[in-house]
């Protein structure tokens, strides 16, 4: 009698779960915390597998299960499982798993091979094994692909409804129609959310295999490790699970390989011989935090310092190629895994965080959104395009008005802090219209700190189904994907982590030229500097320095002449001005510039005659972007400052 494929796969799923439970019991026996019913539980599971396998005609599975039952013979009577049985039974369970899956069991020697390939040592997270926590009679088994299709349809239906509502002409929108539309919206949103829940699974689905894997790895390396898992009942979207399982595998591998010392070393430095690794899952609002912490050797203080300077230890440790640095030999191999982990986290809109105390231990944290499918975003506009920033990465959105100064490397004041700021368009590597006179700053939070991203205006908040841009655009940084909005147009959803990094690195921030002259697109034309000083020699000295560096320079004798020139043709990308001048001094010129909407963001460098705090303060209060001191004229300081503001 041939058995249908469906029945065989149902058998495989259930039998696989039983083997999981068998392994769990065996591990608890080994740890010494097994319940008195352990032996009974093992027998029950083996017996069920044996019987079911016989029914579907998988005789090799049936005989394997029988052999395991036989070796437990004494346990039936004594009620306890002998410790020396654990290892052989674990091996047999591996063979049983292989046979269930329809693969011939690997030869006995291979299961304890010392080959350090990551995939070989750690079994891949079980993609087909659903969480074993529900009773069979109240749950059904469904092919995961079907749930994905259902979810896609539910999401599209909800969006389609909104597009339809949007497309209806106003005269058709009576109260009755409106109520029906609202109700429809609620029903479809409910449908979408319920379907989404179908797709979330417990973290334990992937972490279940880790206990065994860590134990095996530790044994291989002669280390003693106590591994604890906590909070693995938190749920994540199935779509995230696979990558997360891989990421956690890398992190755990690092912890066992590099962090935990051998028992002798640990004893020598005054620690317990047994090392500890703790995996903890925690739900934090619409995010999930999975932390792997250990009490091992921690990270070297050199790396810690580099991390502090870079603002993020995780960024430093996940640099590809770090492992090749000769001075950090004990981290060899660490670089590759962590780079992939960080990319995975950020690709789904999450972050990787690392804390460490040299000699004491390390904590690696993956913070991920609960679901990929629907993201709550803040909508913003820049140069005619709508962008979305996931709210989880946004602290606030504020209008930057003339009362907030734009200082030095373009910053804004926020909440008593000074935040570096940059134009969204230039951060993305694009070009177009200049920012409006009163742009909106979106305060983005990231491991490295908070930064401000400048846009034209905020356009509300929305829940969006974010679709990835695809492999062809994977080299274009900064985007999590695109989403179709109610009006049928696309919003481009941005990656807060990338934005924060780009601002912090001061990338490509060019303040706009006066409104009306769009930024140069292709070949950068020479930047124009207006030099204002009442002394001929000073004017000419600054001119020659700037022209030698490639700038086009015009000069004015005092504030009044400069002001007239600016009004005439707005012909400057930056102004360098003295303070003490007749007719209209530098401060007055600056105030006039800042008061005029078209010139409000024109960069102005103030040259102070004494290194006096007074001039500096007045200049900054009036809205200067930077100041340099005239005394002991420093050519490099001038070039650096101008370059910082408008240089290429």
């Amino acid at each position: 009698m041939t058995v249908s494929g469906d029945i065989i796969s149902i058998f495989r799923g259930e039998a696989g779960e039983r083997v999981d439970r068998i392994v769990e019991v065996l591990l608890s026996v080994e740890r010494g915390d097994a319940t008195p019913e352990a032996a009974d539980a093992l027998m029950r599971e083996l017996h069920s597998v044996k019987g079911a396998a016989a029914i579907v005609g998988l005789d090799d599975v049936s005989s394997l299960a029988h052999a395991m039952e036989e070796s437990l013979g004494d346990a039936r009577t004594s009620g306890a499982v002998a410790a020396e049985l654990v290892e052989p039974l674990l091996r047999a369970a591996d063979d049983l798993r292989e046979a269930i899956a329809g693969r011939s069991p690997a030869p006995a020697t291979a299961t304890s091979a010392a080959a350090p390939g990551p995939a070989a040592d750690v079994p891949p997270p079980g993609r087909e094994a659903p969480p074993p926590e529900t009773d069979r009679r109240t749950s059904i088994r469904v092919d995961a692909g079907r749930v994905d299709r259902l979810l896609d349809l539910a999401g599209e239906a909800a969006l389609h409804h909104r597009r339809m509502a949007h497309a209806l002409a106003p005269e058709v929108r009576t109260h009755v129609v409106d109520d029906l539309l609202d109700e429809g919206d609620m029903l479809l949103t409910g449908l979408h959310e319920s379907t989404l829940e179908l797709r979330t699974v417990e973290l334990s689905t992937v972490t279940g295999q880790f206990t065994r894997a860590v134990r095996d790895l530790a044994h291989e390396q002669g280390k003693e490790i106590a591994f604890e898992v906590d909070g693995d009942s938190i749920r994540l979207d199935r779509a995230l699970l696979e990558g997360t399982g891989d990421a956690l595998t890398h992190i755990l591998r690092n912890a066992v390989d590099h962090a935990i010392e051998t028992p002798d070393v640990r004893e020598r430095v005054g620690k317990s011989r047994q090392g500890h690794i703790h995996l903890r899952g925690e739900q934090q609002g619409d995010r999930v935090c999975i932390e792997v912490s250990d009490d091992g050797r921690g990270v070297s203080s050199e790396l810690l310092t580099r991390g502090r300077h870079a603002g993020s230890l995780a960024a430093v440790l996940s640099e590809p190629g770090l492992s090749t640095a000769p001075s950090v030999t004990h981290l060899s191999g660490r670089g590759v895994g962590l780079d992939a982990v960080r990319r995975h986290a950020e690709a789904v809109g999450g972050t990787l965080e690392i804390e460490s105390v040299p000699g004491e231990g390390t904590a690696v944290r993956l913070v991920l959104p609960v679901t990929l499918a629907v993201t709550h975003v803040l909508l913003t506009e820049r140069a005619g395009q709508v962008y979305g920033v996931p709210m989880s990465g946004v602290t606030s959105a504020v209008t930057v008005d003339s009362h907030m100064s734009l200082r030095g490397q373009r910053s804004i004041e926020f909440d008593g802090d000074s935040l570096r700021a940059a134009d969204l368009l230039t951060l993305l590597g694009g070009s177009g219209e200049a920012l409006p006179p009163r742009p909106t700053a979106i305060v983005v939070n990231a491991p490295a700190g908070r930064v401000a991203v400048l846009c034209d205006r905020v356009a509300g908040e929305e829940d969006l189904v974010v679709k990835p841009l695809g492999r062809l655009l994977s080299t274009t940084p900064g985007y999590l994907g695109a989403a179709l909005r109610g009006d049928g147009r696309l919003a481009l959803v941005l990656d807060p982590a990338h934005l924060a990094r780009a601002v912090a690195m001061g990338q490509a921030d060019r303040p706009a030229s006066p409104a009306g002259s769009p930024l140069a697109t292709a070949a950068p034309t020479a930047r124009r500097v207006l030099v204002v000083d009442d002394q001929f020699t000073v004017r000419e000295l600054q001119r020659s320095i700037l022209e030698a560096a490639g700038y086009r320079v015009t000069t004015a004798r005092d504030g009044q002449e400069a002001w007239r020139m600016l009004l005439d043709d707005g012909s400057a990308d930056l102004v360098v001005t003295d303070i003490e001048m007749p007719h209209m001094d530098g401060i007055e010129l600056l105030q006039a510039i800042r008061a005029r909407p078209a010139l409000e963001s024109l960069p102005v460098v103030v040259v102070t005659s004494r290194a006096g705090k007074d001039d500096e303060r007045r200049g900054l209060e009036a809205g200067a972007d930077a100041y340099i001191s005239k005394g002991g004229f420093d050519q490099q300081a001038l070039l650096d400052t101008v370059g910082r503001l408008i240089g290429s």
């Binding site: 599209e156 368009l425 841009l469 062809l472």
Partner: protein
């Protein structure tokens, strides 16, 4: 047995795509530009619920772009789907006898009705586009 191809027009030149790779052809519509994307990628466009990158064949082959392209041909290769922006759609016909081409982006060239037709190698095209840094 010669494979069937969809012939398209780009700036007056003729190119062909194996029909097995073509999913559909649709009017150009609204393409959302992506700041920072490689020059060959005009932007993205939603097609049947998916967000697809739109590759500008004018840029790829160094041809002048006179007006907005009128069509997008959606093609797929090894799970990667993209739209190719072209000016016109011609026949679906069996490929003529093909000669190897100098261009790595063309699987071959043929002559049809007195015109040269270049058969695009979609895998090479995707690699070229994806490999170009922003």
């Amino acid at each position: 047995m010669s494979p069937t191809e969809l012939q398209v027009v780009v700036a007056g030149e003729r190119y062909a795509l194996p029909v097995t790779a073509v999913i559909e052809a649709t009017a150009f519509g609204d393409v959302t530009r992506i700041a920072g994307a490689p020059a060959a990628v005009m932007g993205v466009r939603p097609v049947r619920g998916q967000v697809l990158p739109v590759i500008d064949l004018h840029v790829v082959f160094g041809l002048p772009l006179e007006a907005a392209p009128r069509w997008i041909v959606v093609v797929e290769h090894e799970q990667v789907v993209a739209g190719l922006a072209v000016d016109g759609l011609l026949d679906v016909a069996p490929a003529g006898p093909m000669r190897p081409s100098e261009s790595p982006l063309l699987a071959g060239e043929a002559t049809a009705d007195g015109a040269l037709v270049g058969t695009i190698a979609i895998d090479a095209l995707f690699e070229r586009v994806a490999g170009v840094a922003a």
